[in-house]
Symmetry: C2
Subunit: 208 residues, 2 copies
DNA sequence: CGATAAGGTGATCATTTGTTCATCTTCGCG
DNA sequence: CGCGAAGATGAACAAATGATCACCTTATCG
């Protein structure tokens, strides 16, 4: 599902790089004349043609107005992921008002599709190397495979557990002998919120 | 060492927020008139005063030219952290050439001082919830306290272990009964590279 | 009461900025 | 050879943009 990467000429790559580095250093894109200056181009229309080519090749977005160049949003250097709440307490995942915070995460660490972060409370998943206070990266979806670690809502409570089948019915299994399995009874209000696809523990040790 | 946070008025905060969100959505800052439109201000000079106030309070950088606003570089939304190598193999930490990759990490997840990421090989720290393939966030420093999880170099090998004192000498203790302690002998080449202050496991489960 | 700061209106003006058009060179390709 | 693409030059021009000035309102503070 990748965008076809049309190859850039050497000059186009140079100009795109200058635009990106200008944004990175100053916080806003350069004007056509600023590009011309740095590229040792006397005329401004040559720059325009290069920008047109970059737009045509999908590497740049141009809008009306001065400095209206966008080279970042095509290939975001970071993805803002919402922190939706703490597990255990019931979380209305779709309610944007419940958003506690937003954390920037590198795109290479994020799977495709809608994701969010949850703060884990308790150590029921200790054996799976998920500790109290960890952030879990959750891919939001309504289904899951057996043996996957899921975020599920059961009887108004939301927990992180491993989804398992036992004696013909689903159970939510902790990864800690001190905790008991949670059977998914027939009549119970049960819903899979998503699958855990990442674990982040940013504050190991004491001092910050 | 924090910059003194001069408080913003409600209106100034609104305008700063609009500028930031404009940059986030379109990739470049708005013009004075675009700000005026969104804020329901008829004149442009009122906007200018607000920008002057934001600059004075250190929340914005302005330069000459259209859209020359920089609201990002004051408070970076992301910190590039180098991935320096895999543990176990000897890692010349100071050699920038050894940089495998760079990952963007949210500043709220990063302690002060120089940090880098290492990819963990093996499961000798399993009980400490650090698994094979995890990235550990390491604060580079030459000293550590007892009971801290450290990255240390001993006899040319680099490992992640818990620093402990036993029988009057330091040992590098694994968190897995299948592995043995590593005594730090008197004559051995031993060096603390840093302390582990974060664990990241981005690829839990199968599909990416 | 007067001073001051925050917020706003309205208009003028020089500059900057992007657009457009004509013309040129070089290079590879059929 | 002719053709087109990439790259560049130069100039004219309309629109957009920020700077600046004068003046207004509403609070707050001493």
């Amino acid at each position: 599902m990748e965008t076809s990467e049309e190859p850039l000429t050497h000059r186009q790559a140079e100009i795109l790089h200058f635009i990106q580095s200008h944004i990175g250093q100053l916080g806003y894109p350069p004007t056509l004349r600023e590009i011309a200056r740095k590229m040792d181009i006397r005329g401004i229309s040559a720059v325009r043609k290069h920008l047109d080519a970059l737009v045509r090749k999908g590497r740049l977005i141009r809008r009306k107005g001065a400095r209206a160049l966008d080279a970042e949003s095509l290939f975001p250097s970071t993805v803002p992921v919402p922190v939706l709440g703490r597990v255990v307490a019931g979380i209305p995942v779709n309610a944007a008002e419940n958003r506690l915070d937003t954390i920037a995460i590198d795109p290479s660490w994020i799977p495709s599709g809608p994701v969010f972060l949850l703060r884990v409370k308790g150590d029921s998943m200790k054996q799976a190397a998920i500790l109290d206070g960890d952030y879990v990266l959750v891919r939001a979806k309504e289904t899951a495979e057996e043996e996957e670690i899921v975020v599920a809502e059961i009887d108004g409570e939301t927990t992180v557990k491993r989804l398992r089948r036992k004696d013909g019915q689903f159970i939510l299994a902790p990864e800690n002998p001190d905790y008991g399995e949670i059977p998914v009874a027939e009549g119970s209000a049960f819903r899979i919120v998503g699958t855990v696809c990442g674990v982040f523990r940013p504050a190991l040790g004491a001092s910050r």
